[in-house]
């Protein structure tokens, strides 16, 4: 066998691997959309579930999902970005940095059901928040912190050091340098981390079912219990209530995540990266 054959075989193997991954993804997407899309109509989007979800729509779960997710991200983002700036700009690899980074990495490795259990014991019972949007959001915000910290820290470190030097040479303070120069330059990367976190919140079941509950009525405030879309289709499928509606919800969830990604990317490209785009 000569080196050209080697090359050919290697190429074939790599192609097969890539193709296989694509095929699996395509299969899942097509399967869910094929079974779920026919169920989607105006009623499904606007009615609350009836008869345990056997009939009616999923409107309350859409609202619940959006409330839990947006609240979780709103709570986690300031802490996550703040920690990332602390790690990247205010410490020089000392003892405290190592502890914070170790904690963040450990948090990233914890299964989400454990976050659910923690949220149930701490937010739901100890703080007396009950099964509610706020309990679910607080739990999720803890869960997405490691992702936010890591992606933001990487984005901040990727900002060329010369920008900081130039800023200082223009008689800026450290704080002004961070706000006016480092933060805008790191924003596209930070935004990516936020998008990733939104996706994780929307798709989460275990942590949410234990903390936000599984109530089907329309949540009236952040203290109402709610059922997110992911939890809804989990219950519909697991308890054999309605596979048809489970697939409908799953298809809707996929479309929602897709839409959020499109909107977020447009936002990043149009408003955040305007300085570098032609």
């Amino acid at each position: 066998m000569n080196s050209r054959d080697h090359e050919r075989i290697a190429k074939a193997l790599i192609w097969t691997a890539a193709l296989f991954v694509l095929a699996v993804l395509a299969f899942i997407l097509i399967y869910i959309l094929a079974r779920g899309l026919p169920r989607l109509d105006w009623e499904f989007l606007t009615e609350i579930p009836r008869n345990m979800g056997r009939s009616g729509g999923v409107s309350s779960t859409i609202v619940g999902t959006l409330m839990v997710t947006s609240l979780a991200v709103a709570i986690a983002v300031p802490f996550g970005i703040g920690t990332a700036f602390y790690l990247a700009e205010y410490t020089r690899g000392g003892y405290i940095t190592r502890i914070i980074r170790f904690c963040a990495e450990s948090l990233a490795g914890i299964p989400s059901i454990v976050y659910g259990l923690f949220g149930f014991i701490f937010f739901v019972i100890f703080l007396g928040l009950g099964w509610s949007v706020i309990s679910g959001a607080l739990t999720l915000s803890v869960m997405i912190l490691p992702t936010l910290i890591r992606t933001s820290e990487e984005a901040i470190r990727a900002v060329p050091n010369i920008y900081r030097e130039v800023s200082y040479s223009l008689s800026a303070t450290k704080w002004q340098t961070i706000i006016k120069v480092v933060f805008p330059s790191a924003l596209p990367g930070i935004a990516n981390g936020i998008i990733l976190s939104v996706g994780r919140c929307i798709a989460e079941t275990a942590a949410v079912i234990l903390t936000a509950g599984s109530a089907l009525r329309m949540p009236s405030s952040v203290f109402s219990p709610t059922r997110t879309m992911a939890v809804h289709f989990y219950i519909l499928a697991m308890e054999g209530i309605s596979m048809e509606n489970a697939f409908g919800t799953a298809a809707l969830l996929i479309i929602l995540i897709f839409l959020i990604n499109v909107v977020a990317n447009t936002f990043v490209n149009r408003f955040v990266a305007k300085g570098v785009k032609r």
Binding site: R164, S169, A172, G275, V276
Partner: protein, 261 residues
């Protein structure tokens, strides 16, 4: 040395620089005349940039950097405890080696400095932008595209934008750290012309590897080298004409005639 003391803008007095235990610069003493161009020349690694960065305390950003001796700006120590580094850097601006335009519009690149110390009025900022860009002879080229990203300009124009950005803060002194080394000959010529024009108002200190550039633009030349202990020293400091026609130090002569470096 040969500068009358009352004309000195900056004075280095037995200045030493250490990075941790490493002795980078030894016993540098010289006076930099106001409204003139002083060139710092010498072989790579002799501490030219380090010396330049002592004048606006940029070395403060490097962990472990320490200065002994003193540097005076207008007769006042810039290393005294009460010195406000931010206001020092407002007086002593800096242009770096590579053009490093921020990823924002031409207008925002210029106003980022002035906005920092509280200039908010649109008219005032417009005026600063026009003045700074005119000073670097760019105003007519870009006055209709101030909203365009600065990164779209050519490398030479980007560097002139960086100079305009430094001028917008209204410094007295401009430090230029090999500011032409990343540019083509034509852009280099433009920047050199610019330096000569700016000497009417500013004290300019340049670090350069380019002997011809030092000869062309500078009034005073400081020749630095590494001594036998591998520490950077100021070997000779004299008017440029004198240094290039009749160097006092044998090492200077060897360097400027291209025998080493």
């Amino acid at each position: 040395m040969s500068v009358p003391s009352q004309n000195a803008k900056l004075k280095a007095k037995s200045a030493h620089l250490y990075y941790g235990a490493y002795h980078a610069l030894k016993d540098v003493t010289f006076d930099i005349p106001k409204r003139a161009i002083t060139a710092i020349i010498g072989p790579s690694g002799c501490g030219k940039s380090s010396l330049l960065r002592m004048f606006n305390r940029m070395n403060d950003l490097i962990p472990g950097a320490r200065v002994e001796g003193d540097i005076l700006l207008n007769g006042e120590s810039i290393y005294q405890k009460s010195m406000d580094v931010v206001s020092l850097r407002k007086k002593v601006g800096m242009v770096f080696q590579k053009p490093n335009v921020f990823p924002m519009s031409i207008y925002d690149n210029i106003t980022i400095g002035p906005k920092r110390y509280g200039i908010k009025g649109r008219a005032e900022l417009d005026e600063i932008v026009e003045r700074s860009l005119s000073q670097v002879t760019m105003w007519n080229e870009v006055k209709d595209e101030l909203k365009k990203p600065g990164l779209l300009l050519s490398a030479g124009a980007q560097q002139r934008l960086c100079i305009a950005r430094a001028l917008a803060v209204e410094p007295d002194v401009i430090l230029m750290d090999e500011s032409c080394s990343a540019l083509d000959p034509e852009s280099t010529m433009k920047i050199e012309e610019l330096m000569l024009e700016l000497t009417g108002k500013y004290t300019i200190i340049i670090v350069t590897h380019n002997m011809e550039q030092a000869r062309r633009v500078s009034d005073m030349s400081a020749f630095m080298m590494i001594d036998h202990d591998k520490v950077g020293i100021l070997a000779e400091y004299s008017p440029t004409v004198e240094m290039f026609s009749n160097p006092k130090d044998q090492r200077t002569e060897d360097y400027i005639t291209g025998r080493f470096g």
